[in-house]
Subunit: 476 residues, 2 copies
Amino acid sequence: MKELEKITPLEQDFAKWYTDVVKQGNLIAYGPLKGTLVFKPNSYGIWELIQHYLNEEFKELGVQNVYLPLLIPERLFNKEKEHIEGFNPELATITHVGEEKLDEKVFVRPTSEVLFADLFKNTVESYKDLPIIYNQWANVVRWEKTTNPFLRSREFLWQEGHTCHNNAIEARQFTRTMISLYAKFLKHYLAIPVIVGKKTPKEKFAGACSTYTIEAMMKDGRALQAGTSHYLAQNFSKTFDINFKDSNNNYDFVYQTSWGVSTRLLGAIIMTHGDNRGIIIPPRVAPVQVDILELFAAKNPLVSKVSKSLYKELSRIYRVRLDNSDKNPGFKASQSEIQGTPLRIEIGPRDLENNMVTLVRRDTLEKIILPIDDVKHEVKNILHDIHENLYNLAKHRLDTNLIMVDNYDDFKKEIKEQKFVLAPFCCHDAEEQEIKDQTGATTRCIPKKLDRPFKLAPCITCKRITKRFVIFARAY
Amino acid sequence: MKELEKITPLEQDFAKWYTDVVKQGNLIAYGPLKGTLVFKPNSYGIWELIQHYLNEEFKELGVQNVYLPLLIPERLFNKEKEHIEGFNPELATITHVGEEKLDEKVFVRPTSEVLFADLFKNTVESYKDLPIIYNQWANVVRWEKTTNPFLRSREFLWQEGHTCHNNAIEARQFTRTMISLYAKFLKHYLAIPVIVGKKTPKEKFAGACSTYTIEAMMKDGRALQAGTSHYLAQNFSKTFDINFKDSNNNYDFVYQTSWGVSTRLLGAIIMTHGDNRGIIIPPRVAPVQVDILELFAAKNPLVSKVSKSLYKELSRIYRVRLDNSDKNPGFKASQSEIQGTPLRIEIGPRDLENNMVTLVRRDTLEKIILPIDDVKHEVKNILHDIHENLYNLAKHRLDTNLIMVDNYDDFKKEIKEQKFVLAPFCCHDAEEQEIKDQTGATTRCIPKKLDRPFKLAPCITCKRITKRFVIFARAY
């Protein structure tokens, strides 16, 4: 039984705080290969709930789940030039089986566009086959140089959706539908507010015509790209010859989209809601929503009896864990907190004398002493309140730390302050690179709409008048 | 829109029949790398339901889901000698990232015993941490020379459970608990009867002390190993130094088990229940349980109206698909059959004149004409009957094709007839190999109990008196 160690305060060293939280929250262990992770029950449980609820949302849109191979032969991958250039330095390459050398290199998928393209080529014949709306839950490998649990690891889990449409308008619309779905999902399930927008040409996905993104703000002010949706146009369908016969018997290439969210979302949860006691898991995706702690059970047999009966009753509705071990009360409470369980119920002899129990909220640490009979009803309200509170705190932070500037000096100052900076910007690649080199900030997105007025203004670098406003930030 | 092609009759060429069924049932496409598969919605949907229901069963036993890395460094894999020898020729080996050569070879997991061992070593300290009961859903890669969809492919999906216990009795018991769980699961969800037994020393898992298996009989008489549960004893814990302090403050190594089922189960479903029209999916794991077909909708607007209302009503309870396309009625029925939907409801103008619709069972092809109002109630009964019928047919086949012999001549004759053969056998490796070379049959298991009397008898090869009866068969 491991002792709980101290977590470095986040004000003191945010990066160290993050590492402490993931290690101590029963979230991860490091894999034997550098940059790989073990998802322990407390993090994998969140991911399973994300899968469950996203699947429900996807189903409403007619998404069908499939599973494509992990392994991609070199010749297939190399077909799409821009795509291979984007991934080449990160490709895990299989050259041997046992002692035997293969005739052709095989890559472990970093993403599956080319696999889906190959599948669609052999599936699509007529406009009657369209649209095809497929999704897969899968692991992908990208050999990143610097790694960070959940945020950037050599293997991560994600879902990647891939669709084919018979016209560009429908495909573009679907690209936007998916980014909206993600934004709503993060709000309603993860209590994370995001900014929705389009990536600049420099930051878009290799092989896409345009990329939409949702950008979240972490507690240190840095941005985290939490999901993307790409309009691929006919880039892959022309290269891979995915054509169909339309209703007039003419041939055209399909219009495609792809979209995904990954286990980065776990990092987003930690850095949006976490505090100096560890992770705080939003109730809807918490593997354990309520911890019931038996305290001083030896002093009064009623403690165990009430705990068990409450556990049984609440388990019908919530995900509940009962800690009836002989660990000391302080340890039990700390363990529940460090693992981020949204609500714990402490059942001890003193409260029971008055037929009461104590509820402790993980987000506010507020203690609520209640008659036993009221618990069931109140748990519902409290879990709801916790979600709302987490969301509102994060939304307030995002709103107050998004700063509009009209010149490069102010821009640099605000970036230094770890703000999201909204600035008029022409989006030329060279200038974007220069800003990155000088300030560490990258363009996060061209927001679709913001709660503040836009107007024509001179670009912060080239001074030409532009109506394009872009959000910059340092990012994970 | 692809035309439906003919399926080769199974009596004519079983292997060709199988290939036709998997290709035409919207089940698979071949991946671009030889020996890899695309799981299309109709097969991946079955796998998702298997996952869902197995997760429910696992939960009852306190199993926690986790996810471990795909990639294993060579030094870790090589620690357990017997284990590495078992897998070495099939190991997909990463030597490069992009153009850069790695310092150490990295293997794509063929199974995860060594990864779990590494995790447990860093997790377990005290008997209070035990038992640990983990499971992961994952893809694994084994570079098989000959491949066959679902049965033997270079990548497959599975769950692998891994546990640590503080004593051998509990671990042995857990090994048996899991194999029983699998046997019940196959019966109740997949309608597949199995024989439960122990593998011979020659056929056990590399690195295990003993291996339990469930063996199913396919329609051609060959065996399919459908799930295994291994008692690993302290083999891995001693090699990887997974020790714990017991209640007397003495150190011991943990006792381990591992157990799994894979996407082979999809092959088992096809070859247990399929017929010359294609796959028949057992109702409980059918992605679509009921197909509603609108027929001649143009002739009477009531067709669409009734179809939609029935679709809406049944969707609350069942997984239902509505085909309201303008394809011809024969095509719609064939498509439903070839995809193995257990029940279809045909809604056409003629039946509707009498307020009736036609239900067609996929298993018996029986047509049932019913008043619309009775459909909802009857669907439940019919789906239940289909499951029972599929199971009973398979059970009868298994029972009548399991033959007991007491000499090697009869043994060879029965194996040639594609029977399961139960014979007294001493389980010496050399003789087991000889039988395999001569007859193509392998030992499937030493059954725990059978519905027929056992007695001491001379071994079919060495003639020594033995009480050990072993089942042999040709196998997938």
